[in-house]
C-alpha cells in the first residue's frame, strides 16, 4: 500500500483545534494550539527548548492525550481513538528521534526485519521492504552491520529507514539532527525532502533555525506552549472544531 492509498480521502493530514496539554495544575505545556498541515506538505515546528515541541509530537503520535481540544491525524480524531486501535493508527506513521533508538544487538537489516515480523509480515515481504527502505536512505551496503559499527549519520539514516519501512503517510521527527554536525544534518534533511517528494507528509520539530532557513519549507513556531501569533493568523481552521469519530 502506497502512502496515497492509505490516506483518508482528501482531508488535511494534521488538524489541531484549540489543543491544550497540562501536566498537573501548574504546568501548561500547550495552550490553545490550532493549525493544519495539508497532505504532502513539509512543515517545520520550531521554538526554544521547553516550548512544547516534543509534547506536540507526542500528542500527534498518541503517546499523550490532550487535556482539551481535538487532534485529527489522517482523518482520525485520535483523542477518542480506542486504546486497541492505537497500534493500527501508529502503523500509518513513522517517527524519528534525536537519539536514534535502534536495537543494539541486531544488525541494520535485523532492526528493520524485527519490527516487521512483530507486525506479522512474511519473511519475503520483510526482506523486500527492508531492502527498499535501506536503499532509499543509502545504507543497503551496510545492512549486515551492527548499529555500534555505524557513524552517527548512518545510525540516524537507519532510524529513518526504520521509520519509513512501513511506508507511512506521515513522518514525524523530533530533533532528528540534534546529535549531528551541520553537513550530516543537511544530508538528513535532504533525505526527508526526498521522502516528502514521494508523497509522505513530513513534520519536523527542530530548533536549528539555520537549517530551517536553508530548507525553505513552511514553519510553525511555538513559544511557551503557544503558537506564535503570525502563524496563528495563517491558520484558518482555528475557529471551529468539527467532531470526527476515532
Amino acid at each position: 500500500m502506497t502512502p496515497e492509498e492509505r490516506t483518508a480521502g482528501g482531508a488535511p493530514m494534521i488538524q489541531l483545534f484549540r489543543v491544550c496539554k497540562d501536566f498537573g495544575p501548574f504546568r501548561h505545556a500547550l495552550s490553545e494550539v490550532s493549525f493544519t498541515v495539508e497532505r504532502g506538505e513539509f512543515v517545520f515546528l520550531t521554538g526554544p527548548s521547553g516550548a512544547g515541541k516534543s509534547t506536540l509530537l507526542k500528542l500527534l503520535f498518541r503517546e499523550e492525550l490532550p487535556t482539551s481540544g481535538q487532534i485529527v491525524v489522517n482523518g482520525r480524531n485520535i483523542g477518542v481513538l480506542p486504546d486497541g486501535q492505537v497500534p493500527y493508527f501508529r502503523r500509518t506513521l513513522g517517527v524519528v528521534f534525536q537519539d536514534f533508538k535502534l536495537i543494539g544487538r541486531k544488525t541494520v537489516y535485523g532492526n528493520l526485519a524485527f519490527v516487521q515480523s512483530v507486525l506479522g509480515l512474511s519473511r519475503g515481504e520483510q526482506k523486500r521492504r527492508a531492502y527498499q527502505a535501506l536503499k532509499r536512505v543509502g545504507l543497503h551496503h551496510r545492512m549486515n552491520s551492527l548499529p555500534s559499527e555505524l557513524s552517527g549519520g548512518e545510525q540516524q539514516r537507519t532510524a529513518i529507514a526504520l521509520a519509513i519501512v512501513n511506508e507511512p503517510v506521515l513522518l514525524l521527527a523530533d530533533e532528528p539532527t540534534g546529535n549531528l554536525d551541520p553537513v550530516l544534518s543537511e544530508e538528513i534533511m535532504k533525505l526527508f525532502s526526498e521522502i516528502n517528494i514521494r508523497g509522505t507528509t513530513v513534520f519536523v520539530a527542530t530548533h536549528d533555525v539555520d537549517l530551517i532557513r536553508r530548507m525553505g519549507h513552511r514553519v510553525l513556531t511555538l513559544e511557551k506552549g503557544k503558537l506564535r501569533e503570525r502563524d496563528m493568523a495563517r491558520e484558518a481552521l482555528a475557529r471551529e472544531a468539527p467532531f470526527l469519530p476515532g
Binding site: F61, E63, D83, G84, P87, Y88, F89, R90, R91, T92, L93, V95, K101, L102, I103, G104, R105, F114, V115, S117, V118, L119, G120, S122, R123, L162, N166
Partner: protein, 292 residues
C-alpha cells in the same frame, strides 16, 4: 505476529539474562521437588496400605521366641473370634516378596528374617465394633506378645499419617509454588527492563500489546516447564539413588515402601504445573508493565 518472531524473541529474552533465567529455573525446580518428594512418599505409603492381602481385625506381633500356637489358642478362647492365622517370619517374607517383586533383590541377601512372627485375628460378623480393640488391649499383657493393635487403630493411624504427609506436601507445595511464581515474575520484570528500548520501538512501530507481551509469556512458560522437568528429573534421580542404596544396604522399614516412582499423570503434572506457574508469573509481572 509469526511463530519465528515469537520463539526467536522468547529465546532472545532467555539469552539476555542467562543467570536470572537459570536461577528462576532452579527455584521452580526446588519449589516442585519438595511437594514431588511428598507425593512420592505418600504414594508408596498408600501402596503399602493397599497391599494387605486380607483384612484382619487385630494383629498381634510376637517375640521371636514366643509360643505362637499357645498365644493363638488363647485368642480363640474368646467367643467373638472367628479365625486366627499364624504368620511366621518366613511366611511374612514370602508375602512381601509377592507384594513387592521389584524389591526381591533388596532383601534376598538378608541373613536373618526381617519380619517378626505375628497372629492375625478375624472376628465373627456378629462381633461388636469394639471387640477388635478389646482383644488387642487384653493381648498386650500376655507373655510373648510384643505389640497388639486392632486393625481399626492401625488403619486410622496409617491413614492419619498419610493424610498428614499429603497435607504437609500440599501446604509446602502451595507455598513454594507461590514463591516460584514470584521468582518468575521478578525474572520477567528484569527481562522487561533489559528490553525496554525494544519495547519502545515496537510500540512506536504499531505492535499490539499482545504481540509485545507474547514472547515474555512464552519465555516464562518455558522457564516454568523447564523448572518442572528439572524437578521431575531430580525426583527420579532421588528415587533411583534411594533404590540403589536400599539394594546395597537393605533397611527393614524403608525397603517396605520405597518401591515405585510417581504414576505417569502425577509425573507429567510437574512440568505442566511448572509451565502454568511460569505463565502466571509473567501475567503477574506484565500486568504491572506501563503502557505508553
Amino acid at each position: 505476529m509469526n511463530s519465528r518472531y515469537l520463539f526467536g524473541e522468547a529465546w532472545a529474552i532467555a539469552k539476555s539474562g542467562p543467570r536470572h533465567t537459570a536461577i528462576a529455573v532452579v527455584l521452580i525446580a526446588l519449589a516442585f521437588y519438595v511437594p514431588g518428594l511428598f507425593a512420592l512418599l505418600s504414594r508408596n505409603l498408600g501402596r503399602l496400605a493397599g497391599s494387605a492381602r486380607e483384612p484382619a481385625a487385630a494383629i498381634l506381633t510376637l517375640d521371636a521366641s514366643a509360643d505362637a500356637r499357645g498365644v493363638a489358642a488363647r485368642v480363640t478362647e474368646d467367643p467373638r473370634v472367628a479365625k486366627v492365622t499364624i504368620v511366621g517370619s518366613a511366611a511374612a517374607l514370602e508375602r512381601f516378596r509377592r507384594a513387592y517383586p521389584d524389591l526381591g533383590g533388596a532383601i534376598a541377601d538378608l541373613g536373618e528374617a526381617p519380619f517378626p512372627p505375628a497372629i492375625e485375628v478375624s472376628l465373627k460378623p456378629s462381633a461388636p465394633p469394639r471387640a477388635a480393640r478389646e482383644i488387642a488391649v487384653a493381648a498386650r499383657s500376655w507373655p510373648g506378645v510384643d505389640a497388639a493393635e486392632s486393625e481399626e487403630e492401625f488403619a486410622a493411624k496409617f491413614r492419619d499419617g498419610v493424610r498428614l504427609l499429603r497435607g504437609a506436601g500440599l501446604f509446602l507445595g502451595g507455598l513454594l509454588t507461590v514463591a516460584a511464581i514470584l521468582s518468575v515474575a521478578s525474572a520477567v520484570r528484569l527481562a522487561l527492563d533489559l528490553h525496554r528500548d525494544e519495547i519502545g520501538i515496537m510500540r512506536r512501530m504499531g505492535a499490539t500489546e499482545t504481540a509485545i507481551r507474547a514472547p515474555f509469556w512464552l519465555h516464562a512458560f518455558f522457564e516454568g516447564l523447564a523448572g518442572g522437568a528439572l524437578a521431575l528429573a531430580l525426583l527420579y534421580a532421588t528415587y533411583r539413588g534411594a533404590a540403589y542404596f536400599l539394594s546395597r544396604e537393605p533397611h527393614p522399614v524403608l525397603a517396605l515402601f520405597w518401591v515405585g516412582f510417581l504414576d505417569l499423570p502425577t509425573a507429567l503434572a510437574l512440568p505442566a504445573v511448572g509451565g502454568a506457574a511460569g505463565f502466571l508469573g509473567s501475567l503477574l509481572s506484565l500486568s504491572k508493565s506501563p503502557k505508553s
